[in-house]
């Protein structure tokens, strides 16, 4: 229980499966005695960043706040899972640099064509219709991580496979029990 905390930083396009995977990984970690907190993108916007837009500047502020809170939790022994798109590389790297704990970046990767065809929340359709400005992948950039600790391919792995890959990595790093 007094194990060291760490940050699991999921990044990827809207609809790539970040939240699904976070919700899959969290109970597996809890079963190993790890305290887990999932900072979901939508929940964080509501509670920490209401009023911020999706401009680059405001997105960066939002992601910095997520990084700040994740670090607070993790330095107190919690596994803080973040599941926001966090599209800009520089600010993700800034969060990594400021973290006082192990920082594990997970690229939740699927081709735009795939996530757009799924369009679980109907957001891509709206974005293509010009109803949502600054939509990542459509009218705003997504900068892939250059050296993520883990890449999961959600277009060709099941969520269970991706979750096992993550748990296996964490065990190898000594962050959770085998």
């Amino acid at each position: 229980m007094s194990r060291q905390g760490f940050v699991l930083w999921f990044t990827g396009l809207s609809g790539a499966g970040k939240s699904t995977l976070a919700q899959k990984v969290a109970p597996l970690l809890r079963a190993k005695g790890v305290r887990v907190e999932v900072l979901d993108g939508d929940e964080v916007r509501e509670n920490l960043s209401k009023g911020l837009s999706f401009s680059k500047e405001d997105r960066d502020v939002n992601v910095r706040r997520i990084g700040f809170v994740a670090n607070l939790l993790a330095r107190n022994g919690v596994c803080a899972i973040t599941a926001a798109i966090s599209p800009y590389r520089a600010v993700r790297d800034e969060c990594r640099a400021k973290a006082q704990v192990p920082f594990v970046e997970i690229h939740v990767k699927a081709p735009l064509a795939v996530v757009e065809s799924r369009d679980v929340k109907g957001l891509y359709k709206k974005a293509r219709a010009g109803e949502i400005p600054n939509f990542t992948g459509v009218s705003d950039p997504y900068e892939e991580p250059t050296r993520p600790e883990i890449i999961v391919h959600t277009d060709r792995e099941s969520a269970d496979e991706s979750a096992r890959k993550i748990l296996s990595y964490l065990a190898q790093r000594g962050l959770v029990a085998e």
Copy 2:
């Protein structure tokens, strides 16, 4: 170590001694094996609320964010100490109502005349000169708690005495070891 977390919510005028007392209490709790995180007013503004003003509306947003983060920490076994002025009763009570953990409100109390005569940061002088708008106690209200768990009188108790009073209360409540 797996003891339940809780929130220690300090409230009081600028200069009443909230941060001083938080910094006094934190190591005493750590010595009892409690994980402690101090959410200082200035640090939180910088990291979670940059750009917010000191209008009632923006202060309320800031205090809600502090409450959100304090609860996240505390529900993971941490003692989250908040040390922001948090002048409005309704939003403090809202944070209490939303907390999923024991919430201990501490009124750090000293007469305005006393804290103003100390004026450690020189802020009261500036506020009286009209250089700082919406300054609590001068040009903005401070609403005292009606039923705080603890009141410490920093005009007539030493910081050590106040800290002992708080520790003694927490031990009685079973939140820390005797």
